[in-house]
Symmetry: C2
Subunit: 283 residues, 2 copies
């Protein structure tokens, strides 16, 4: 059993809102306090009953036993130290998609132990409280970074909480995390954005796309609907890893281009056979 | 009502097999004859009862009222003229992913009118008769190319048949078709293959990918499991259009790379806002 706690969610959008639904559903919360910079999001979140009430940040910190940050990663590195300054024995956790920056910004903080750095590997291309999903996160992995830097009790509660939500906990150093997610998440978003721009740029008769676009196209391009406010800061915070992966990806595309240009069916066959090995990784 | 016909399916793989299932399900066939170069595929197709019997090509042509070709597009341009040489009043249709080449190769054929060039916009990343899907094609678009070059009765039956299967018929000239599908299908496969190679190339600890890969990654990379025997010929036959789209796509990726490298959050924001316009096209 995990004790129910009074939990403040800072940022009640897609991620924070979906988390709020799960915290209630799995009986992990006795009270859910929202903190929202956007009045529109706050009123939507109340309408959908994602949280019990909204409070100003300082009051929410004082009232909560657990503080969950689900805000864009650029805002995270500014707000998190300010929150930690006010924390006594609360547990603080973030849900951001980059980890090296938040770990770095708290490195010397006297209350560092109260913080647990987490990244649940779940999201959708939609945003805002209206996009919150019941049963989100279940069956997915959650990465906890630099667990040794967190107090034992804080780490234990966060792990049990994620376990109860149905997530597999994977522990990793922040630098390794940022490298891995560049490959399995960030690059997917960039290729999808770029693919959307390619098609929108070149295809003048959009009705034709609309008519004939199939499931394969939709599958590769759906992430292009994702919110820039979330993704611009991720790309900039994870710049070095992303540039490496993007460079490699452009090289790989160039191999396809050269093989097609020179009618080199043998090389194309080999490139695709290599790509087919992804079957080992995604069933 | 569409009269049931004796139908020969040349190539009983993913597409031909799924078509056979639908032709039976929708009461469009009185007899389903398979023609298969692969003994293994033929025995699988019989095991799954996709067709009633297998016959050698010449016997199948003679016995059938409708001949459906569902073979790789490089084999199509060689086999189709030979089949047309033996046709009297049968209806012949293909289901290939490129259209200019087949239209061209039959241009001067005396029986050209018996042929209907079609491309149903449905497929999966799997192949072979074991991957055939019940209810395939339904709710998707099918493109019929250069309909004026087909005899009225042949065109009518093919349109009614696709209508009964639940497809929306879109008519288009072959050149326009090949351009459009380069954008909405072929490029998606190339980005997916290249993304798989990027990740497999750079990511040494594969277990980490396996652990943390999320739905977004899977969505952008699943087409990378597709069969090279089908896709190499498509890329080579649609070479000019694909090179154009690939060049544009690499340019778009390079814009992301430059913006990230120079920390240009304004430009990144604008690029993503542009990409978000894909919402107009895929709901």
């Amino acid at each position: 059993m995990v004790n129910r706690k009074k939990i403040a969610i800072i940022g009640v959008g897609l991620i924070g809102g979906s988390m709020a639904l799960q915290l209630h559903e799995k009986k992990l919360s006795s009270l859910l306090i929202g903190v929202e910079a956007s009045k529109e999001h706050a009123s939507q979140a109340l309408e959908y009953e994602l949280v019990d009430e909204f409070l100003p940040l300082n009051e929410a910190i004082a009232a909560a036993e657990v503080i969950v940050l689900a805000i864009p990663v650029n805002k995270m590195v500014h707000l998190l130290p300010r929150i930690m300054d006010q924390v006594t024995d609360q547990i603080v956790m973030d849900m951001g998609s980059t980890k090296a920056s938040v770990i770095e910004v708290l490195k010397q903080h006297p209350r560092r132990g109260r913080f647990v750095a987490t990244h649940p590997m779940w999201g959708t291309e939609y945003s805002g409280p209206k996009s919150a999903v019941r049963g989100a996160f279940e069956g997915k992995a959650v990465i906890i970074c630099n667990p040794n830097e967190s107090d034992a009790d804080a780490l234990e509660w966060v792990k049990k909480m994620y376990g109860k939500i149905g997530m597999r906990v994977v522990e990793m150093e922040a630098k390794a995390h940022d490298l891995h997610v560049a490959y399995v998440s960030h690059i997917s978003h960039i290729t999808s954005f770029a693919l959307a721009n390619t098609v929108l740029e070149k295809e003048k008769v959009e009705s034709a796309i609309f008519e004939i676009a199939s499931a394969g196209f939709e599958s590769t391009v759906r992430l292009a609907k994702s919110n820039p406010d979330m993704w611009v800061p991720i790309f900039l915070q994870n710049k070095d890893n992303i540039i490496d992966v993007l460079t490699e990806h452009i090289d790989q595309l160039t191999k396809f281009k050269e093989s097609i240009q020179t009618d080199d069916s043998g090389r194309l066959q080999a490139l695709i056979a290599d790509a087919n090995k992804i079957r080992r990784i995604i069933r």
